[in-house]
Amino acid sequence: MTVFLLAILLFFIGLYGVLVKRNLMKIVIGLVIMEYGVNLLFVLIGYSKGGTAPIWSRGMPEGTTMVDPVPQALVLTAIVIGLATTALIAAFAVRIYEKHGTMDVRQIRKLKG
């Protein structure tokens, strides 16, 4: 139970980063940390006591305890989605810096009202 709370704490640290920080790149990193927290929580959920990796290798006796493979497949997918999102938002941060000349969120305010 403690490890679940620590993973959720990592999520909220990332959320703090997105909400409070002013630099564009720090917001991106906050988003990335949130994603790490959720993926970690997902993998920890699948753990069962004394289980090994959920792949059936040569010479494994029948009836070995394995951890739940479904969260591992889901986390793989979520990591790839996170990669795509991070690449896109980082590219946008770079382009915004080129067009606006600043990385401070408080000064990028062309759209108002």
Binding site: A53, I55, W56, S57, R58, L76, I79, V80, A87, A90, A91, V94, E98, K99, H100, G101, T102
Partner: protein, 148 residues
């Protein structure tokens, strides 16, 4: 970034790149037997290309030719994966059916088993490698310095 790094780094990168690529290919092809699979192996192979660009400087990779090539490989990888999934639909009417498993099952725990899964891994490996290289080229090499 434009000039590359010192000759020691260049020699080491030149030496290590084939090993990294072979390791990546191994992880991709054995995705149904060991942990890893298409995505992790693709990251290895893409990383090998990125290492070469970092060591030798961006001048060689600056032309749009590399970006077009990478984009073409990326689309081909995705298209191959899509084609494998649709083959099941065309043959038996079930989307994403593992039809090679029914037609030609191999011995378990060898490379030639588990139907279309190694082929899917290969397609994903090509796609991820090309995609990562394309992202790196776009972000680090081809950025234009415009006036705000």
């Amino acid at each position: 970034m434009k000039r590359g790094m010192t000759p020691i780094v260049r020699a080491t990168a030149r030496f290590m790149t084939p090993f990294i690529m072979v390791l990546g290919l191994y992880v991709v092809l054995h995705g149904h037997l060991t942990p890893g699979g298409g995505f992790a192996g693709g990251v290895f192979i893409g990383g090998a290309y990125v290492l070469m660009v970092l060591a030798y400087g961006a001048d060689g990779a600056k032309s749009a030719f590399y970006k077009q090539r990478a984009s073409l490989f990326e689309c081909s990888g995705i298209f191959l994966f899509w084609f494998l999934a649709v083959l099941g639909l065309l043959q038996k009417g079930v989307f994403f059916l593992n039809m090679l498993q029914k037609a030609a099952p191999g011995k378990p725990h060898t490379v030639f088993s588990a139907g279309i899964i190694p082929l899917c891994n290969l397609a994903i490996g090509i796609e991820v490698a090309a995609g990562l290289f394309s992202i790196f080229i776009t972000l680090a090499v081809l950025s234009r310095k415009e006036k705000p």
